[in-house]
């Protein structure tokens, strides 16, 4: 199964960056990279999810205009947070766990990006408020994508790709 993931990952990154992000102005375009990563983090152990966090984060950092390191830091942080949630809230690969993790990570990404933007604009969080509400649509759409990904991930039954 690790080959399926290894092949799916660049396809999803490319699909998101060269196609879906082109429709960013519509606001309800989901962040498939993030949703895919959340599934990996929920279904895998911390070691593997941190490795994938590095791969995804560094790729996005290289291709993005944002400060280098933002995405790597974010995805590593998410791997740790999701591991924490798994440990203290529920260890099963339940649908609600994926749903909560996706919503949380989408929200956190927007908050982090908003803080960076507000620092660019002179530490005035007020400038980003008008757009924040529309960005919540993205949180909702990303969370809704879980409904599509969940049966797929359950069907390929990822246990721990490294040890297969």
């Amino acid at each position: 199964m690790k080959y399926i993931i290894a092949l799916s990952l660049p396809i999803i990154i490319l699909f998101q960056l060269s196609l879906l992000e082109g429709f960013k102005y519509l606001h309800f375009i989901p962040n498939l990279i993030l949703v895919f990563f959340v599934f990996l983090a929920v279904y895998m152990d911390l070691k593997n999810s941190v490795i994938y966090a590095f791969i995804i984060g560094l790729t996005l950092d290289t291709l993005s205009i944002n400060t280098f390191g933002i995405y790597s830091a974010f995805y590593i942080l998410m791997a740790i947070i999701i591991d924490f949630i798994k440990k203290y809230i529920g260890t099963a690969k339940s649908f609600s766990l994926v749903l909560i993790s996706t919503a949380l990570s989408s929200l956190l990404l927007i908050v982090i990006e908003s803080l960076i933007i507000s620092s660019l604009k002179g530490s005035n969080i007020g400038v980003i408020m008008p757009i924040i509400s529309s960005l919540f649509l993205r949180v909702v759409s990303s969370t809704m994508t879980v409904f599509i990904f969940y049966p797929i991930f359950n069907s390929i039954n990822i246990k721990n790709p490294t040890y297969e």
Binding site: L17, G22, Y25, V50, T59, I65, K121
Partner: protein, 260 residues
């Protein structure tokens, strides 16, 4: 490896990567990522363009689409030429009056395809398939359909990042074409532009065309940025501001021209 050790290792690796990046030692691997992703990116963005075309127009089939693209490119070139010529004419007249001095400026164009859009929720940038080997340099203006859409912010060998004018971090020296009042055009979050630092005494009205002022020498004067949508003038302020509607269609970028 226990979790504590794993987290410490991850953080150490992350710090190491940051150090390598900011000292320029990771340029090789970064170039590999960009080079590997670029051709596949063109393929995917091509799919995206087709999807956009089919969803907006029924008649975009076969040769018509190719012809359309060629004509768009032609229009882009001509629009830029017109806007720069208008400014050149004005400049020429002024110089003739003052110094009897003529100046010829040769501008080169190169077309590029959009490979990637920025993954950020709030930033507005694109990556194109032209780089330093094509003569692209940092700060080069990028135009689409004859209007300026941004400038080159990062160049690698085969690709470049373009910071769009609507990005919150983008600032360009601008001028109002009708009055020649100069100011700064700043990107706003949510596809908007703000013309700032216009002195209170200057008269600007809705509908005025905003162009690049050419101050600073980074880009030529006369590239159309947009039109003034709303003027915000306060009696107690030193400067007045105006909301500007971008002239270019920044929501559907596929092919762009770079001036160098």
């Amino acid at each position: 490896m226990n979790k504590k050790k794993l987290i410490i290792t991850a953080i150490s690796c992350f710090m190491l990567i940051l150090v390598l990046h900011y000292t320029g030692l990771s340029k090789g691997p970064e170039r590999v990522i960009k080079t590997v992703f670029s051709p596949i990116g063109i393929f995917f963005s091509g799919i995206g363009e087709n999807f956009k075309s089919y969803s907006t127009a029924v008649s975009t089939i076969g040769d018509l689409q190719k012809d359309n693209q060629k004509l768009k490119n032609k229009i882009s070139t001509l629009m830029t030429e017109i806007s720069t010529m208008e400014e050149a004419k004005k400049e020429n007249d002024n110089l003739k009056k003052l110094l009897k001095f003529t100046q010829t400026t040769k501008v080169n164009y190169i077309s590029a395809e959009v490979i990637f859009y920025d993954p950020s929720n709030l930033r507005q940038a694109i990556m194109i398939n032209r780089g330093s080997k094509d003569g692209i340099k940092n700060g080069n203006p990028v135009i689409s359909e004859g209007y300026i859409i941004g400038r080159i912010s990062e160049v690698s060998e085969t690709s470049s990042k373009v910071l769009l004018t609507i990005d919150p971090d983008s600032i360009l020296p601008a001028a109002v074409q009708a009055t020649s009042s100069t100011g700064l055009i700043k990107g706003q979050i949510g596809f908007g532009l703000l013309l700032d630092n216009i002195p209170q005494g200057e008269k600007i009205i809705k509908g005025d065309i905003v162009i690049t002022s050419g101050l600073g020498g980074e880009m030529p004067r006369g590239l159309i940025i947009g039109t003034i949508d709303e003027v915000n003038s306060r009696d107690n302020g030193i400067y007045q501001q105006a909301r500007v509607r971008p002239a270019a269609n920044l929501k559907n970028l596929r092919q762009v021209l770079i001036l160098y």
